[in-house]
């Protein structure tokens, strides 16, 4: 065979961790590694031990069995390692499985191993795999660091250079290029890129990327068709379900979105984040039996996962209250402190949910006491309360008779998220539960109108050529509504329009970038972001 200049990789100095619950197999793997001249070999007999060791030491190579018996699975070891930053792109993670990989579902791309290896395998195969992966990692390194630095244009240049050389890992580089285009919000470019790949074969990840581009561009019908197609061809590509559900939510069909996610949890029951989301969605759809199952699954699976959160417990507790079992709900809440002793928002989560349970039990004094505790915790956290928690707090106020306090908090939430349909749906649920559906609708529509006219006034200033006034106007509005993406986007826009006329300044650019960053953080698929960031890049390149 034609030999090309392949980088020679020295394995002898690598640090290796072997994870398998069978002593015999650990021994076999150790022998294999030793015969490759590797000196530094650790092993772990279960997922928990593996996670501890990975946190304590940087391993170059991790060979991990998928099925580790009770406790964390191999997949959870990988997820936790990546989530906590202990496993990064230069580490090699090989997932060892007892059966063909087709048996396994395809999860989120960022939590996939470098390779799957089916037992049994000869040591020659293992060595070849490791060497191949190590060689591939070398050329990807530059792309990964550029992505980590948010320098997407540079990442794309490196991708193109590499692709021109047809390296062995062409597929991986193409995958990365697609991701960078999506990250950069160049959805049209991404769509064209994926289309070109799809002309040559039905590659699953390219179809997925194509659908995501459509979702981001607001082409929901076409996105839906693509995701449904992917599932019809291979019902184990799990991200397709998640994106399909997101598309259906955008299409205002939460019931169908719920059905899709229910099918997904049937096929892949071990997916904490999906259970969590399904629980919330089903609660909103008033399907409390499904919500209960999902939150229960989330709580159960959270015991082995880095993705667990107090919301899994409070969600379950609140669902149990709806199921007329508040007593059980309190029992669930009793476990939260033990599970999350170090989080500073644990008390707030628990106290709010407790007040709901006591309220349902007609224990007014206890409910009030819980609310007072929640109030104190909220004051300690100041501005760092996630919006969903803030909404729950508002509802707790309303239940205790504090309609005005509750409504004020909700008004604040709506003004920040006046076009976030999922958030508004949650707001509607709260008012419905308070038997105030009409008042809720009223609050949403007046607040929405206020924000729209507030925004339009600024836009009118800008259109009338009064850019300086528009800047003052929008920057003031953005200070009041730091979480409203349209206000922030427009603040950036008018700043940049002004600089286009008068020339860019460092201060102006920094302020514009600040608003753009907010927009991206609030909604990474914000439709005008791509246009604005391109404008920003053009302006800043003029400065240099």
């Amino acid at each position: 065979m034609e030999q090309t200049k392949k980088p020679q990789i020295n394995l002898k100095t690598k640090k290796v961790l072997i994870v398998d619950d069978f002593f015999n197999f650990r021994l076999t793997l150790k022998n294999m590694m030793r015969s490759l001249g590797i000196m530094y070999i650790d092993d772990a007999a279960n997922g928990e031990e593996a996670v501890r060791k990975i946190a304590a030491r940087r391993y170059d190579i991790i060979l991990c069995d998928y099925n580790l018996g009770p406790g964390k699975s191999g997949q959870q070891v990988l997820e936790e390692g990546k989530f906590r930053g202990h496993i990064n792109y230069s580490s090699i993670f090989v997932m060892i499985t007892a059966e063909n990989t087709q048996e396994m579902v395809m999860g989120a791309m960022e939590y996939q191993p470098d390779a799957y290896l089916v037992k049994p395998f000869a040591k020659e195969v293992l060595e070849k795999r490791i060497r191949n992966i190590a060689a591939k990692k070398l050329n990807i390194k530059n792309i990964e660091t550029a992505i980590a630095d948010n320098d997407f244009d540079h990442a794309l240049r490196v991708c193109d250079e590499l692709m021109a050389q047809n390296p062995r890992n062409l597929s991986e580089i193409m995958k990365l290029k697609g991701e960078v285009l999506l990250k950069k919000a160049d959805y049209k470019g991404a769509a064209e890129f994926y289309d070109k790949i799809l002309q040559r074969g039905n590659v699953g990840w390219a179809q997925l990327g194509r659908g995501r581009a459509d979702l981001m561009m607001g082409n929901y019908e076409s996105a839906r068709e693509i995701f449904e197609n992917i599932i019809a061809q291979n019902d184990k590509i799990m991200p397709a379900y998640d994106y399909l559900a997101r598309t259906l939510i955008k299409m205002n069909d939460p019931q169908e979105a719920q059905n899709v996610l229910m099918k997904a949890t049937e096929i892949s029951p071990r997916a904490l984040l999906r259970h969590k989301y399904l629980g919330k969605l089903a609660y909103r759809n008033e399907d409390f039996s499904t919500a209960e199952n999902s939150f229960k699954a989330a709580v159960e699976q959270g015991k082995n996962s880095c993705f667990k959160s107090p919301e899994d417990y409070t969600g379950l507790a609140r669902t149990l209250v709806q199921r007329a079992a508040p007593q059980e709900g309190l029992k669930v809440l009793g476990k939260v402190f033990k599970e999350f002793p170090d989080r500073n928002d644990t008390r707030l989560h628990v106290s709010i949910a407790e007040s709901f349970a006591y309220h349902a039990m007609n224990k007014t004094a206890e409910a009030r006491r819980a609310l007072t505790k929640a109030q104190k915790s909220a004051a300690e956290l100041a501005d760092n309360i996630p919006r969903e928690l803030a909404l729950s707090l508002a509802q707790a106020y309303m239940m205790a008779g504090g309609i005005d306090e509750g409504t004020a908090i909700i008004k604040n939430i709506v003004s920040s998220h006046h076009d976030d349909e999922e958030m508004l749906a949650d707001v509607r649920t709260v008012f419905k539960e308070m038997d105030m559906a009409e008042q809720g609708e009223e609050l949403i529509s007046t607040t929405r109108d206020e924000i729209i006219s507030l925004n339009n006034e600024g836009v009118a200033l800008a259109r009338g050529g009064k850019l300086s006034e528009a800047i003052i106007y929008f920057e003031k509005a953005a200070a009041h509504l730091p979480e409203n993406k349209i206000i922030n986007a427009n603040a950036a826009h008018v700043l940049m329009l002004d600089m286009k006329e008068k020339g860019a300044t460092e201060d102006g650019l920094a302020r514009a970038k600040g608003y753009l960053d907010r927009v991206h953080k609030i909604d990474e698929s914000y439709i005008d972001y791509a246009m604005l960031i391109t404008m920003y890049r053009e302006l800043s390149s003029g400065v240099q």
Binding site: M1, E2, T4, F22, N24, F25, T28, N31, S35, A98, E99, N100, T101, Q102, E103, M106, V118, K119, P120, F121, A122, K123, E124, V125, E127, K128, R129, N132, N166, R168, N169, L170, S171, M174, R200, G201, N202, V203, G204, W205, Q233, N234, D235, K236
Partner: protein, 231 residues
């Protein structure tokens, strides 16, 4: 309460999984023993290779059977991605070289370094493993795996210098797409292997084209030639 709906085929599949796990342990233990024997220069260490060959054959049969079982239950999904042909061949080489060498058979691989194609790697590996395992029995001195692009197809060819396939086993000698041939299951496991290969070829589609296989005699080594064509 136990669910009473479990079918015999499910029981069979579970037993297959279990058997496969045992085989895995057997395979690796044997590899350790062989390594030990080789280190001690034990004269009969090569006898173990025959054992290992049979274990591997069993293992491949089980994988094939499980795949067919899943296909029957419509659970077998294709997972198409771009792969470098050289990667596929190198790894096939690595997993069979030692065994073939124990019978003094040389394994040759041939492909362009920049040949890429979209296919399901584990399914295609299953096909290649099966064919090479057969060639192990019939080849005299050499087995050759090659990958090329012919027209709009990716062609994976496995040739040997044995006596060739019996006339009844030749399939699609004209190498035409779209031809379906009945398989003679009298040939036992070979028939099952062919059935599997055809199914895998059939599962690979691109636009309006489907994959297919061909079995002829002759080729560059003068023996059997198995080819799988993927669109």
């Amino acid at each position: 309460m136990m669910k009473q709906t479990i079918s015999f085929t499910d029981i069979l599949a579970m037993t297959l999984h279990d058997t496969k796990n045992s085989l895995g342990i057997l395979f690796n233990n044997l590899e350790d023993i062989i390594a030990g024997c080789r280190a001690e220069n034990c004269a009969r260490h090569s006898d173990f290779y025959t054992l290992q060959y049979e274990i591997q054959r069993l293992n491949h049969s089980l994988i094939r059977l499980l795949s067919l079982y899943k296909a029957e239950k419509s659970q077998l999904a294709v997972n198409i991605d771009y792969h470098a042909a050289s990667d596929l061949l190198e790894e096939a080489g690595a997993s069979h070289e030692v065994l073939l060498a124990s019978r003094n058979i040389t394994l040759l691989t041939q492909c362009e370094e920049d040949l890429f194609w979209a296919f399901d790697r584990s399914l295609i590996e299953g096909v290649v493993d099966n064919v090479i395992n057969n060639a192990f029995r019939y080849a005299k001195t050499a087995v050759k795996i090659s990958a090329t692009q012919e027209n709009e197809y990716f062609v994976l060819k496995i040739e040997d210098d044995g006596a060739g396939y019996p006339p009844g086993m030749l399939i699609n000698v004209e190498k035409q797409p779209g031809i379906k041939q009945e398989i003679d299951f009298q040939t036992g496991s070979t028939g099952l292997g062919l059935y599997f290969s055809m199914m895998v070829a059939d599962m690979h589609t691109n636009r309006d084209k489907k994959g297919f296989i061909s079995i002829v005699n002759g080729g560059s080594l003068g023996g059997g030639v198995f080819s799988i064509y993927l669109p």
